[in-house]
Symmetry: C2
Subunit: 421 residues, 2 copies
């Protein structure tokens, strides 16, 4: 772990991390963790990371604001370093010659959010905090509950009572204290802030706690290592598609690439595309209107992980696209369901928010936003097992048959290979 | 890939793998894949494997009957090499000082079965097969569907209509042709054999296709690499707990260790403990009665993955325990549910069949089968997200509250740290 300061993104005021925990007290802006990049670049060579035997986010500890957690054998030590797939058949479905998919459904609690919660939990361990609270639409809570359980800490989770049952069951199995809030994610968010202050808990809320972004930036650091060809000077531009709810994931990926640029380890940042559900598009609307102010919406989409009225990290999420030459696109729920089946046909089972990124790629190709020669990468942020109800809507049901060959032959008179790939 | 023969385990007759596909035509016994171990040991040094940069089962390709699938970037290339956790808090719950958990819920389709299906799919690719069928209680089918999708092959899956909805949804999302059989797993098994013959499909059925065992043995090979201390001559005995349904997993783990022994890379095999649900205990009953013949039962347990009337690999499963100094234990459904919560409290979310292994460890400790100084390892064979209904039964439901601090304070007058670890 290297020394760092916290700096407010909108108003640029700086804070000492030893005395300051959350958002900017002046403008409520989100804080960035900033290192002395020149000094760090002098002392640190990239091969110290790229040759690390550690197959987790802790390979990046020289670039994180926390030390790796003590010990070495729990799920907390096995977050990240998820596979980067190259899927030719899926590329065709998206009208591309080549397609990369980064599969964060393979994290310990089956979503990208483990990256953020691992760093927050490691920070809590390092300063002796015992209880961490968070609001969550499901995945962030499961990640906090799982990582806290692995570390022997206590988690308190506030989720909208509409969260998918799989996500709530996961929280409870991890031993978290769970409250189902009769309201939206945003109601749960505000209640968590109040409760954390009243009970003296450490608050992990996304877009409020500055360490979540540092955890999430590891997604970018892994792409840098796993797709080295895309960072050569003569490489075709890499276009990365990420679904956007509160905006903290795309902002985290942007932060990771910004760190690499400031270290001089890359000479350009890939184009970042934010994908929002049509019914939950606060950031996409600001992008479309050329506004830098994010206005809340009455969010409604089946992709619960990105169903957010007021994106808590909207400004940084917007800049992730505008500062990298990317864009924002919106997709319908029907397009998200189709994308679940698309990814599944290549062996990747994504939850709706994860599939939305692939739907966004298809939309961007349709709209001519991505050139033929460009490379594309879709970030799957969660496992499809998290939301079975959505998966069931994405496919036709299977027939029930008596266990006899005759019953089968009535449905399938002769075998014709399916033309589905 | 090395040359090999197929040999029937009960009657010892040998077969040429180029002309023979399935079980022994004489005694219906399961076939083992056997190499020329002396020759292999002369040509192959363990460090060719232990220094492999490949983080998947394909690091073991010199010990597999198939070549790695072509290409390198799909879920099929990212099976196995799952983490081995060391969980101190969970060790205490089992009355142990140290506890290892191998988490196969982190495979691409979230179960151990990916290991078997990957090898079967790689074999199909190498000989030009386009369609593979299997019977499944859920996981094997999902694994075949996912691996086939990744490889661009077609999968036909027969599952009992009682399979958990999550598992069926997963099959369908992967684009498999799915039939819900109005009967038991055993009915689905027999129908698959008939259908494969009638339609000319390649049959992956567990305990029938000899390659599933070779895929499953990679679980043992990984333990050998990930827990090297347990294979030193002076190490305390390692006791491995595996849940047993059709028996192919524990037989596969046994096979992996037998291969290592024949290569001279280890000098003893860990003790293998089979864990069965009390209501589905055909192998455990044979063990208890000292029989080598497996009699079918009318299976009934909430752990659907190990709910099997007639274990298709029962004989080899029995021998995995008797030949290694292990044993069989049975656990109740209530003990399985408690084990889901136990594992969850350490950050590992297991499906019932996976949690059964931990329940079995607790039973074995209670029965004095494991000495204090012995090492123990529990194999979690599936992710808890596969069966949310069971998880919900393992925990108390969360309260619903209005989104106000007052509503929270009515339930939680003051914060007292939970004493749950």
């Amino acid at each position: 772990m290297d020394p760092y300061i916290l700096r407010c993104e909108p108003c640029r005021q700086t804070f000492d991390p030893d005395t300051h925990l959350y958002n900017c007290p002046h403008c409520s802006g989100n804080l960035d963790v900033l290192y002395d990049y020149q000094d760090l670049a002098r002392r640190l060579r990239p091969n110290r990371i790229t040759e690390s035997p550690d197959g987790s986010i802790w390979r990046y500890s020289p670039l994180l604001p926390v030390d790796p957690p003590p010990g070495g054998g729990t799920p907390l030590h096995h977050v990240g370093w998820t596979p980067l797939y190259e899927l030719p058949a899926l590329a065709i479905r998206a009208g591309r010659s080549r397609l990369l998919v980064k599969d964060d459904g393979r994290n310990p609690t089956a979503s990208f959010k483990d990256r953020a919660s691992a760093v927050v939990v490691a920070h809590a361990l390092s300063v002796g905090i015992r209880t961490i609270a968070t609001a969550s639409s499901g995945n962030a809570g499961a990640a906090l509950a799982g990582m806290a359980a692995a570390a022997g800490l206590e988690a308190v989770i506030f989720v909208p009572k509409t969260a998918p049952p799989a996500k709530v069951a996961q929280l409870l199995v991890f031993g978290a204290r769970v409250f189902l809030v009769d309201g939206t994610y945003d109601d749960a968010f505000d209640l968590t802030l109040e409760a954390a202050e009243a009970y003296g808990w450490y608050c992990r809320n996304t877009g409020y706690n500055p360490y979540t972004l540092e955890g999430k930036k590891t997604g970018a650091l892994e792409i840098w290592e796993q797709a080295p060809g895309s960072f050569r000077p003569d490489a075709p531009p890499l276009n990365i598609f990420v679904s956007v709810g509160d905006g903290n994931i795309i902002a985290g990926i942007h932060k990771g690439f910004k760190d690499l640029l400031l270290l001089g380890w890359i000479d350009h940042i890939p184009r970042l595309y934010g994908v929002q559900a049509e019914g939950s598009a606060a950031v996409a609307e600001a992008y479309r209107d050329g506004r830098s102010e994010i206005r809340p919406v009455a969010a409604r989409t089946l992709a619960d992980s990105i169903c957010v009225d007021l994106p808590r990290d909207g400004l940084r999420a917007l800049r992730a696209a505008t500062e990298t030459g990317g864009a924002y696109v919106t997709v319908t729920d029907e397009e998200i369901l189709a994308a679940i089946a698309d990814l599944g046909s290549a062996g990747v089972f994504a939850e709706p928010a994860g599939a939305a990124a692939f739907a966004g790629l298809k939309a961007a190709v349709r709209e001519g936003l991505v050139k033929d020669e460009d490379d594309v990468l879709v970030f799957n942020t969660g496992n499809g097992l998290k939301d079975i109800a959505a998966a069931q809507r994405a496919v036709a049901p299977a027939p029930v048959i008596e266990p006899t060959l005759q019953a089968l032959q009535r449905i399938l008179p002769q075998h014709v290979e399916m033309d589905n790939r």
